[in-house]
Symmetry: C2
Subunit: 402 residues, 2 copies
């Protein structure tokens, strides 16, 4: 027994890595389920929509003797298909401008690693997708948040706010459009503001467009890669996860017109050899889904969005701006600390044998103390379940605030 | 036309990323094929062995409605299966000590990121797997190479060589056992030397055991994770790629008894959400392959090894130590610059309509100028093709040295 055995220590970078704000309440949810409480999961962006059978079948019918490495940039046949896909979405590229990545996550990492050095700064409107913090920490990059406000529905901050945040170390601006966690969809005018500031200060624009197809109220999605004059600055970080309900596939894409950035990202891509083969087959089949594939899904999410947001705003003291895209909403609740409230919902509350799990919003802010009375809700359940979940929340707020 | 458009610059880190030494001759190979020359690929560790049908079928029969994220550490059922697999290989762990990774590549990245900060040093006997350089560069970590020599068959450097390389910034030693690119299999005595030095200086031992099953001449593989007293220091970085000829699956594992390291690596794992689902199903099925699965493969590789190495050593001025494991060998050739020679083989040479592609060894050394007259050969072709390839090489050396 080596009681005084030496023990090497973890890295500071590892110590600073933020734990996932979405997953840290999981043990409380598991305990609730063990007590027999039904938990409505509005905490995580895992769609309940079936993965299209046609694309699962493409994998089921795979005809390969040897499961070989693919090209480090992904199968050429898949990249050529993606050219078609992007052309349909107003983005004109060739297949050598696409690197297939292991999920959108790896596209984000390649963008940061290829364009930024330790100590460099990236401006991100907050609240933002929490894992941006993790990728920035692992790359030694500093996130400079600028606030977007719930009263403005989380619109793009003013050009002045960006100007004030720019320093000699600023290398990039990162956006998620439509936005996770706010659901905000940037307008052409807002993208033009981003273009202006990027050109003026020669900054990269990293654009996470994972939710491109999820836009409501007849609004159009505009890709950063379609902005004229921004070709050398814009990098698209994409994923098939939400688009085709294929989160477990781990296939994304890194797309840019900037050849030097592509060459650099390819070196990171070569170091990890190749993206997963099976899900590339699935992704390639997905480009050939019927043109009306998204129509039904779109109608379903629109219904869920209206149900959720209308129910939330009907509750005393709750504010939830109507999101224009994605499948998330941020709500301000009449509570002091939404993390305590979310934990209490799982630990100490039930309504008709059920409770609701949400993501405390503080983890989506880089500024400490921000978002403490907000939660993020993912409307990835059907209308009936959303109504049940809202019944729980409504009853819970009454009981909690007694 | 914006001729004087501004253009943001890539990162220094991206600039320093090494290009893959294995893949950079690829355009010359493609040109050779277009000229109608047959190219024998001994340059890359892509096995030609069929992926077992039973494990491909497990994916073909996948019964999932929604391709969901898995747990960030991988499916629990798969991790439990891996516990069985490791127990059969002398490594006793529980399923919470395993994080399923996206290939062995990600396991290497998690080890470096979790345990090392920018400026920290990692000692690696050279030549070593070239992508270690890439992962170290992306993490800002300094590789400190210590030479292993072709005359000693690439045995572990002496304990004195390690002692001389240790500085206050040293955090870890990295080995690949059996070794890529040398094929060297470390003995128990050598592992005890590594244990001694790790305990004395409180260093992590990162052990890449991708080729565990490929050991010849009746020699036994000893895992770093089975070394008594080294539980808090040893980290196993593993992959199913070579074991089951499943390189395109992108499934590996990060395994350690050190709880603090596991907790830290889990934060990196959560940031990237989950490893690919399809190949986890394949990996889980692989643990149930019949016990004699490796016997046939083993005999095949042993035959190839003997064929390749004996042919090489029969050539004038060629030295190739007999490797004890993996499916690589390093050969010293009677040429000044093996990169030029390898390019010449593809650009300007053919023998009976064929040529051979090898990996110049310089890319496997961190010390500039080392390995300039060496190549790495992967014996991933059948005996007949290896003989054809050796015919080409033999004829080429005669012509090149005229």
């Amino acid at each position: 027994m080596l009681i005084f055995a030496p023990m090497p220590t973890i890295s500071n970078r590892g110590g600073h890595m933020p734990p996932s704000p979405i997953r840290k309440l999981v043990p409380f949810a598991e305990a609730a389920k063990q007590r027999g409480t039904k938990v409505y999961h509005l905490n995580i962006g895992q769609p309940d929509i079936e993965t299209p059978k046609a694309i699962m079948d493409a994998v089921r019918h795979v005809d390969m003797k040897v499961l070989e490495y693919s090209h480090s940039a992904g199968f050429e046949s898949y990249r050529k298909k993606l050219v078609e896909y992007y052309a349909r979405n107003g983005v004109n590229i060739n297949h050598n401008q696409v690197i297939v990545t292991t999920g959108g996550s790896e596209a984000i990492l390649f963008a940061i690693m290829s364009c930024m050095d330790p100590g460099d700064e990236i401006i991100i409107p907050e609240p933002f997708y929490a894992n941006y913090n993790g990728f920035a920490t692992s790359a030694g990059v500093t996130v400079v948040p600028i606030p977007s406000g719930i009263e403005d529905g989380f619109a793009l901050p003013s050009i002045d706010a960006f100007e004030k945040a720019v320093t000699p170390r600023t290398k990039a601006i990162m956006i998620c459009n439509p936005n996770n966690p706010t659901g905000y969809l940037y307008s052409r005018q807002e993208l033009e503001v981003l273009k202006e500031i990027c050109l003026k200060h020669d900054l990269f624009l990293f654009s996470d467009e994972a939710y491109r197809e999820f836009c409501y109220d007849g609004k159009e999605h505009i890709s950063a890669l379609s902005l004229e004059g921004l070709e050398q600055h814009a990098i698209l970080m994409d994923t098939i996860s939400k688009r085709y309900s294929a989160c477990g596939g781990r296939i994304g894409a890194f797309v840019t017109h900037n050849q030097q950035v592509l060459d650099t990202a390819m070196k990171f891509a070569q170091a990890r050899l190749s993206p997963p083969s099976f899900a590339q087959i699935l992704g390639e089949a997905a480009v050939d889904l019927p043109a009306d594939y998204f129509d039904g899904i779109h109608a379903e999410y629109d219904l869920r969005r209206n149900t959720l947001v209308n129910r939330l705003n009907a509750m005393d003291g709750v504010l939830c701006p109507m999101p224009g895209g994605a499948f998330y909403a941020i709500a301000r609740l009449p509570v002091d600390d939404s993390e305590k409230f979310c934990q209490w919902l799982l630990e100490s509350f039930s309504h008709n044998g059920a409770t609701v799990m949400m993501a405390p919003a503080a983890g989506f802010y880089a500024t400490r103390g921000q978002g403490k009375n907000e939660v993020r809700l993912a409307y990835v359940l059907n209308k009936e379940d959303i109504n049940h979940a809202m019944d729980c929340l409504e009853a819970a707020l009454k009981e909690y605030n007694k």
